[in-house]
């Protein structure tokens, strides 16, 4: 069945710093943008605590979502112009797939909550399940708009996002190792952080993309542009997304929510500080509508109220989060992990409850998408199409990509209050001195390990 949505009499545009303009041509796209569920994305930062490290990166999930839509739109237009299907099964592009692709692109992040990773961890929510629910639950404005196209359209769009849609081209546009989602966030996050690690040649990549039976491939003469994209992505991870300060602020956020939940469950949060909109989450009994009330501002508003809470751990953590007082951290590995209890003991001696004032965090949790077909959940590999149409896999022709293929990346860090690095003479000065013997060149070490060298 061919889904259609009326075209606007004249296309509308949204000004965008990354793509110059976002072109909206279908009434349904405009209507989706105007739903309350989509507008809510304006109040959720794309990068969570990263803006506390890179102050420019305060952009919201709204901007990213319209960007993913726009890249998808450009790809579909290119496919239709250059690779239109002539007969079923010829592996070329069927333009009746465009609308489902555009809607899936626009809505792929609709289920995200504030500070997603941390929030999900504490409250056991799942943004992917919620995305599907928002699309298919008749109570949402999103669902009502989608259902206006056809009764099974909401489920279809959801199935693209869930990678269950039968046409692999549509699925790979939205979810693959080089998809519209990743392309937009690399460029956007680069732009807003003011770094340039994430830049790559979008125009050239869009130009060399082409549909084939199994999904989407890239002309081999665009190999280096794809390679450059992979390297840029790697660089953004290690330089921006894995930044220790942002992770430190996430640690504080996590401990803060954890403490609040604990106090609530033990009736110690205080009536004054009743966080109305969070209570359904604390109760672990929340509706979709409850969930959709939440945004970054709701959390920080309650944190502001908690600054004066009588529980000193809660109020102290709220202050650390709102006033940006990150924990410090050091790297550790299998060889030094056994020293962590020593450190926790020292930290406790200095007056900090280790449960709320220390953390281990590895950036492997934010998985790096290196390609590896041998994994349990093998990723769709990136295929390059040669002149004669045959395909070769990217890492087989690129040394650069091969070097980072299948390898996890990132580091493991131990977080602790910066007070431990104080040098002032106070009650705990001996503890501080002892603590510092465990640290060298940003690494946890066995205290005896420090070696001499001359510069």
């Amino acid at each position: 069945m061919l889904e259609q949505s009326p075209l606007l009499t004249r296309e509308k545009v949204l000004r965008d710093p990354i793509h110059d303009y976002i072109y909206v041509q279908h009434q349904v796209i405009l209507d989706l943008i105007n739903t309350k569920e989509f507008q809510r994305l304006r109040r959720i930062k794309q990068l969570g605590t990263t803006s506390l490290t890179f102050h420019g990166a305060e952009h919201s999930r709204f901007t990213h979502s319209v960007g993913v839509y726009e890249i998808t739109r450009r790809i579909c237009d290119n496919f239709q112009r250059n690779y239109p299907t002539k007969e079923a099964g010829d592996g070329l592009w069927d333009d009746s797939e465009k609308l489902v692709a555009l809607c899936a692109a626009l809505l792929h992040d609709i289920g995200h909550g504030p500070y997603s990773h941390t929030f999900e961890h504490i409250f056991k929510t799942d943004h992917e399940a919620i995305t599907a629910q928002i699309l298919t639950d008749p109570s949402t404005e999103i669902n009502q708009v989608l259902a206006g196209v056809s009764t099974d359209f909401p489920a279809k769009v959801a199935s693209v996002i869930q990678k269950k849609y039968p046409n692999p081209q549509v699925v790979q546009l939205i979810s693959s190792q080089i998809d519209a989602d990743r392309m937009d966030y690399l460029l956007r996050d680069s732009y807003y952080t003011g770094t340039n690690y994430g830049t790559f040649d979008l125009t050239r990549i869009l130009r060399v993309m082409r549909p084939y039976k199994g999904g989407i491939a890239f002309d081999i003469n665009g190999m280096h542009a794809v390679e450059d994209y992979i390297v840029s992505r790697f660089q953004m991870y290690v330089q921006v997304y894995f930044h220790p300060i942002s992770r430190s602020m996430e640690v504080i956020l996590s401990h803060l929510l954890h403490r609040a939940k604990y106090l609530y469950e033990n009736n110690r949060l205080g009536l004054e500080d009743s966080p109305k909109l969070l209570i359904p989450l604390f109760e672990n009994d929340f509706s979709l509508d409850d969930y959709l009330q939440l945004d970054d501002g709701v959390l920080t508003t309650y944190f502001t109220e908690w600054r004066q809470n009588t529980d000193t751990i809660l109020s102290d953590l709220a202050v650390r989060f709102l006033d940006r007082k990150p924990f410090k951290s050091i790297k550790f590995d299998a060889n030094t992990a056994d020293l962590l209890p020593d450190l926790e003991r020292l930290i406790e001696s200095a007056g900090f409850n280790p449960e709320y004032y220390t953390a281990e965090n590895d950036s492997y949790d934010l998985p790096y998408d290196a390609y590896d077909p041998t994994k349990d959940k093998p990723r769709t590999q990136i295929e390059l199409a040669q002149e004669d149409g045959s395909l070769v896999e990217l890492s087989s022709v690129s040394d650069l990509v091969a070097s980072i293929t299948g390898k996890v990346s990132g580091d493991r860090r131990f977080f602790f209050p910066r007070e431990l690095l104080k040098s002032e003479d106070d009650l705990f000065v001996d503890i501080y001195n002892q603590f510092r013997t465990y640290i060298n060149n940003d690494n946890l070490i066995h205290p005896k390990e420090i070696t001499q060298h001359d510069n």
Copy 2:
């Protein structure tokens, strides 16, 4: 007296999309950035409702404030390198003024609240007075850091921001027709909106700036760069800052806060919806600390709570604001203002309370800074220094600048619910049809005025 602050052993940098890096060299600057009052600026958008028109412009007052600091730092460095004073009164740059200039630059917006213009209008607050209070009240962390330099340093910094400081060079760095504040926001707002109207040649302008006895002048060979800056500023006002959609959202915000205040004062807001952090403002009895709890998120959190309020005007306006459902608007002028009551009557007939569903708004309220020495509050004019040292005023040598000098700019608009433009057949269809006869080419007209033309 020469204020000094220890230099950091190594300068720190903040990554910034506009200036690449912000260089922090003094301990006091680092300490000011780390205060709770300054960190709060991260939670207040620089452009308020403008991000609802230009979705990329979600940057905060924090990013702008460090940008103004950075431009000021570069100017001071240039002055010290090229125009150091040799003897008192020679009109050259005295580098002992640097620290007060840098602190004033960093802190010039510290007193802003959320959605400042609207907020101040409803709650009769004054961000300039609050700025001075934050600097000079011993309860603030800002004051404590400044007082560490010298006991009268907080007052000195405040006097720069209040334009009362004796050295006009320092004052004009922060407040004049071409100052570090304006230069940063034009570039920054351009970058984040994704328009390029606000770009100008910052490097060249910094290069041609020079101190003189009366303040700051510009080498005449940089005249066209200054001209370009003035034109860019004009363009940003008419294209971005005065955008009807943003003003429409401000109108809704204003009506919403106004309604909430009214309900509160009449005990009709509902216990459930007690907006704890706003109550001191509703009571018109708030401390500096109360004020400093507020940010954009606090407002939108209460708006979220009000979505379900039993007062339908409050809940409807909250929905319109959160879900971005702007009013429509048309231009009017002295010749058509007499028609506004007609329109209000029609709007009321269609079921909308005109007090909360219409507004007149002119963008002259957001004054355009054209130069005019004949005004009551004459602005410091822009002086160009010729080869032999004599000064000429900018508009006397630039036709472009002369063309916009002393003229107000902007338009007057009447705002109304978009429902009035509905074409569907419903109860009010006659009202809608009548309403539309008052509108032509975005202007309010006398209904008979429409003339024929062929294209």
Copy 3:
């Protein structure tokens, strides 16, 4: 008759710094680019002596020509997508005009010689006439490619460039106050000089362009973008194109060619220095093929040979041009023009032949395109289309544009050897001292005029 050219099986692209890619879709466009006449444009700088002031601006007429083509292509695509004609005379876009528009855009500068303005002045050539000749003379590769479309196609393309083509939309795409030619050179010259005065919002302008019966108009909501373009153009003229150093180098070039021609005509150029490829020009008896042999390198090669010429004026001017030793200059006007003979006399006393070592040059010769319908050759005015389709003229709604409408811009300068400003004590020191009394603040003055002022 509908001209057609086969489409390439797959479009080809040229990488371009301004437009990212130039998209070539027709075989005839590819063939035109590959002609010898078009490739020759690679060896002629777009901005002549401007690269001696702005060293980055070394780009050729080739890059500009493909850029004009690309902008035209985008406009045609937009017109076809949004404003396709439905019946003859409806004022909308007839896509069968596309090919002639594209060819005219690509070839509009094909007749330019090296350092056009100066060259034409000395040798009485006319690049517009030569352009027409290149298109219509069967000896050229350009003509052969065009004639492959249809026998009258070469003449048609020529008539577009000559503004005689019946469809005003096609003519205005290439030649009007806001056409593809101007739009490309402003952006390109800005980029290569490294200034940003010429930037404007190309995407937005392309978006608001629309065909109408009388040519091309712009949606009124894009008024400020058009205004910004006009101001940018003005800025580029006064800041870049009229730069005194570039004009000074043109003066030297002109005197150098003039001297060579004079020596040639008087048999004093020397056999050794016979400038083979220039002789037909010196003889004023040259074929189209002779003309097409010339490029920037041919001129500088002969200048290099002339460095050693026995005529000291010729060799000195060659050295000044090749080694970039510009004359100095001052502004003068009607009030001071009577002093120029005094200066020339002083210059002659210092040992310089005024015919070859001085010049008057006004930048009005490089006309600024302000709009003025009252002129002898009225320009096509810029029309803005209102919501209801009626048109208003740009300067009637833009104060900024009105301020520069109909006014000439630029200055008149007198050029002289920089030696006259020497301060060293040599034979001519009295002359130098006397000379300097005529100069103040970059202006020619009556020696008594200097007034005192304090700074």
Copy 4:
């Protein structure tokens, strides 16, 4: 001895698209730029035939040279501000080295001729030796300016460029794996080609550079910025510098000069076509002054004259070069090299002299600078300084860099006239058909090798 040059009373600036401004502060730098030898660099393209592939890249060696100077200046300023030497041998920066470093940076390419690589190959010139000669020969303006600093200053500057200067910091600023030369050309060539492969974070790299006893190191927290630079450099080589079309045009240029030399030596070049300025090179008896007369325009002027030469090989190759008619090419390797004689035989049968119409060219000749200390000429490795001052080598901590370390990169190609790929039916159609059986997917293959596959 401490070399000094008077500072200009006010620094001069050159506008530059890459660095915004080039700041000239010393009289000697200004004087060097104004020499005839330096101005000649304006007439030699930085990238030779690359502009025939990437049309935007028409920039000259002049722009690059001032860019290298500017980067060096910034590094020196940073070193002086942050790492000034306190006592001899402390491994910190001695600012009396600044002037020699700046001059070496500015002049490092002064000896280049037109289309250097090809030119040197044909005429056995050596631009490095000529650079040294220009610096030290009293006949040059460059030498005279340098000698004005001190008598041994010219030799000192030359020794920096020749890597013989005792202070390794100064040498490494100009010549190492990450030096001012490479940093400027990557950014500049990226900008002018309009690709973005060569971009990297210059500001950050300059920030993390620091002097140490053995030369220049980088703070370890800047590791990823250095890594990004290395990858960018790799990308520029494979995507831009090794482009087959540019190499094809070099092949034609080489054959053309070779043919001209051959004809000259056999008195067959023709009196009419006597290339006056090239004759000393043909005679292999040229002075420094002869060499310095040459530039790109001199070569193309003679090529233009040769278009009509009676030798058909010479005239045909001149046409192919001037009108940009590149040879085609295919990759080959050790397994297929034995087939090349077959191809040459076919090409000869089709009427082309293989000596002038075919070539083998591998891009290994344009060496890729991967780091490898085991090589005969070991490169200075890139050292990263850890927090405690100890150094680690880059590839030991970067997987990405390790993956391209010590590996040659590029390909081997066989070039032939595009006529061989004609499909038209003419005399040689059988030859063409046979020729094509050797080609598959841009590779030379054994004709039987083609395998079937379906897409």
